[in-house]
Amino acid sequence: MAIIEVKHFNKSFDGHAVHKDVSFRVEKGECLGLVGGSGIGKSVVLRSLIGLEKPTSGEIWIEGEEISKLKERDLTAIRKKVAYVFQNGALFDSMSVYDNLAYPLREHTAFNEDEIQTRIHDQLEEFGLLEAEGKLPAELSGGMQKRVGLARAMMIGPKVILYDEPTAGLDPYNTLKIRETVLRLKKKGVTSVFVTHDMPTAIAVCDRFVMLGEGRVLDERRADELSRKDPGPLERFITGDYGGY
């Protein structure tokens, strides 16, 4: 059963069409890799899946609910189910790591401060971030900021996680840490959409790929169908023979 379904997605900015007709679906528990050249609008699609952007036309269905025409207020229920991991973490810079993680719990749950503290402690331990608890985001490395962003997104147990280039600009150690975290969440049955240019990580975590280009889906393939013998646009993009523009 598809947990996410995008139908004839069209998005224009100032009259310039970025996406003309994009359709794809994501099955429950699946990790979908959304790939394509730089600037073709992968993040625009990802942002639209949580209502941060509105499509010019087309439909976006999340768990059987069409969200593209929902008002901001009505998107709250969707945003509790679908978490977004921002490229730079997007941590609240005036709050400590602890308060960043406490934010979704204080907003959406009835936990008291003791329960919140326990849950944050468990989450920090799971993400290897215990030493960062009292620090401000500015005091953390880029890799740690991304991991805190991921930990924050997971605080209220979403069903779907949208990753926007989670490994961009990271060293191999932090890339591996993020990769392990994504795989761990996948094992727990969390559905994910993974936007990245980091192909080794994408191949390691994704079950299926959708390649965007020229405002549409250029190629769509399961990870185990990727072939070196008969390469399509997706394989050629992965090997660097094709820019996807």
Binding site: R47, K80, N88, Y103, R152
Partner: protein, 255 residues
């Protein structure tokens, strides 16, 4: 249509929509009292020294200027009347709000603008919460509470500054000065100035938030939005002051 006209329409439309969102979300839970108190402190308490210096200096300069001018015609005794009325009806509220448009307006726009370009506003939305409730409403309420109180403080400090100059430099008896102020300034005079301040406070907060939320172009965009926010608020305060003064004038005539 020219670019300037389009910009004006965008600004007018954008601030109107933002104001409507503030009103419609104001009565929905949750209301972040801690954030509102924090903003009252930021806007009110932290602006107090600036307001005291500005108002005190304005009162002192006005007393000196009127004193030098009126002395030639033997009209020095009218200084308490003229200065106190000018401060209470105009200079107190307008000067305070102009100074706060620079301090508070710039602060609001740069802070929210930085949050916008670093995707923190998007993060607030993505985490299922409303930037209007968490960011805009506390600043609007904070400004609506703090700025009128600051303008009352500015009135007192301004008149006190004029009293000091009157007593020390112009040879006026302080008791006479205070008596004249008390018999000149009546409640309608005070209210005519005071009622302008919530309007100016709303302008400062809404315009500051609007420019912060619509920042584009990274840190350079934040600088540009901050400048535009201060200029726009200041112009709106000055132009708005004319219409409000006229409105209160007609209202007083009608009474």
């Amino acid at each position: 249509m020219k670019a300037a006209q389009l910009d004006f329409l965008k600004l007018f439309g954008g601030t109107t929509i933002l104001s409507k969102q503030v009103v419609s979300e104001l009565f929905r839970r949750p209301l972040y009292f801690r954030l509102i108190v924090e903003q009252i402190y930021q806007i009110g308490i932290r602006s107090l020294p600036l307001v005291i210096v500005t108002a005190g200096s304005t009162g002192m300069v006005m007393a000196l200027q009127f004193g030098l001018g009126l002395e030639k015609f033997g009209g020095k005794l009218y200084i308490p009347k003229i200065v106190s009325l000018s401060i209470v009806r105009e200079m107190g509220p307008v000067f305070t709000c102009l100074v706060l448009a620079a301090r508070i307006g710039a602060g609001i726009t740069s802070e929210i603008g930085s949050m916008t370009v670093t995707q923190q506003i998007d993060a607030i939305r993505a985490l299922g919460t409303s930037p209007i409730k968490r960011i805009v409403i506390p600043r609007v309420i904070g400004a609506l509470i703090a700025i009128p109180i600051l303008s009352i403080a500015a009135n007192f400090v301004g008149i006190l500054g004029a009293l000091l100059v009157g007593a020390n430099d112009l040879g006026l008896d302080p008791v006479f000065f205070v008596q004249k102020v008390l018999t000149t300034v009546w409640v309608p005079d005070f209210l005519a100035g005071f009622f302008k301040t919530p309007v100016f406070a709303g302008i400062i907060a809404i315009v500051g938030c609007y420019f912060g939320l619509t920042v584009k172009g990274g840190t350079k965009g934040v600088g540009s939005a901050t400048r535009q926010s201060v200029v726009t608020s200041s112009i709106c305060i000055l132009v708005g002051d004319y219409f409000l003064t006229k409105f209160f004038w007609i209202f007083e005539q009608w009474l």
